[in-house]
């Protein structure tokens, strides 16, 4: 049996039913352990004080915001190449989750930025790229909502996702160019992985695992919903014809 068999809607519903609660449980466990560990049992950073605890939300959310888009891109490619309906629906299901992740990353970043840099928002390349990513998510979701025919919507959003990815990467580098043009050596951006000590690193890893699992669980659940909606529409259409 090939891997693609799992993408058959009926099979998908079959294997996700038992997997889903476990993924949720594991995600909840990881998040609880990671966040409690991070919040209660890690020391304050000597420079940043207690704000370092925001890292356990900020970094995983930012990571998932980008990974969600990549997952949507892969799902769109699979839909275009092999026309697996589940793939298109999974891309649709992932978009709102990606929006939430982007929002969390932006919000926690702003709160973290206020005491550290003295401002909630700076037009730093990294921050600006996330704002642009947020706009891309909104456009993608809006296009899905606007088109009635499901196959047309899947096709068009796939193309948008691919073209959007190219422009998102382009914007990322354009923004770097733009900000350096304004004021050189903007050292606002705080690179997390570079200076993180082990005390912070292990709970952070658990949190990242929790966010990844939560993302997977949410996408599976939302994809199941989308499949059911699709099936319901088909049944209703058949009844109307009969």
């Amino acid at each position: 049996m090939s891997l693609w068999e799992y993408a058959n809607p009926k099979r998908f519903m079959g294997w996700t039913r038992p997997v889903l609660p476990w993924t949720f449980a594991l995600a909840g466990l990881c998040l609880a352990v990671g966040l409690i560990w991070g919040f209660f049992f890690t020391p304050d950073d000597f420079r940043q004080g207690s704000t370092v605890k925001i890292i356990y939300l900020h970094v995983p959310a930012a990571l998932m915001a980008i990974n969600a888009w990549i997952m949507m891109l892969v799902a769109s490619l699979i839909w275009v190449v092999r026309r697996h309906h589940v793939s298109a629906l999974a891309a649709r299901a992932a978009a709102p989750v990606g929006v939430v992740m982007t929002l969390i990353a932006l919000f926690t970043g702003g709160i973290w930025g206020q005491p550290m840099w003295g401002t909630y928002w700076a037009w730093d390349p990294r921050l600006t790229s996330f704002l642009i990513l947020f706009l891309f998510y909104l456009g993608y979701i809006a296009l899905w909502e606007a088109i009635e025919d499901p196959d047309t919507a899947a096709d068009l959003t796939s193309v948008l996702c691919m073209v959007g990815s190219i422009f998102a990467i382009l914007s990322r580098y354009a923004v770097l160019f733009w900000n350096q043009g304004l004021h050189q050596g903007a050292s606002l951006s705080l690179d997390a992985e570079e200076n993180v000590a082990d005390v912070f690193w292990f709970p952070l890893l658990v949190c990242i695992a929790g966010f990844v699992l939560l993302f997977i669980a949410l996408v599976l659940m939302r994809t199941r919903t989308e499949i059911r909606v699709r099936r319901m529409r088909a049944l209703e259409a058949r009844m109307r014809r009969a």
């Binding site: 456009g139 606007a146 068009l156 193309v159 948008l160 691919m162 914007s171 923004v175 733009w178 043009g181």
Partner: protein, 218 residues
Amino acid sequence: MIALLLRDLRLAVRAGGGFGLGLAFFLIVVVLVPFGVGPETELLSRIAPGILWVASLLAALLSLDRIFALDYEDGSLALLATSPLPLEGVALMKALAHWITTGLPLTIAAPALGFLLSLAPEAYVFLLLSLLIGTPALSMIGTFGAALTVGLRRGGLLLSLLVLPLYVPTLIFGAEAVRRGADALDPTGALLLLGGITAGTFALLPFATAAVLRINLR
């Protein structure tokens, strides 16, 4: 292909909206900005490159939804799709027609409006140059967006939401070139990158546009 281009241009001129509306909108946006930020010449000349670029971007956006809408409604788009002309070529010509009716007039009018905002004298050349290089990319990206939303009855607002994020790199490089020109820095890097974006969009987006049109005409 040339015939198609000429036909689109004739239609735009006859409909009257093509040249006039976009330009008038451009003028109004530029005139409104000083009312909003105050009349200090120094401030205005500092933000002039950005305003001129953002205003031309909005003016280009204004006429996008008409690129395919009329042809879609009266069925000539379906005819074009079955004609021997490849749909990629149609997309290219549509973008070109849009550029000639909006981008080119904007480029020519922009220096005059630069006066209103007391743009630095050294920047005029680069304003003209950056708009000349950058506005074709705006038209091409816009044509792609218009193709995405052609089947929708109320696609106008959605079109802006889809297209504006795609405009970000063009805007950044375009405005940056003018700003560097105004600050007597070397703007060739920004201009080259802007040219790269325009070349890239014209190389890739006609195919994406044609694919999207085929989906929408299915």
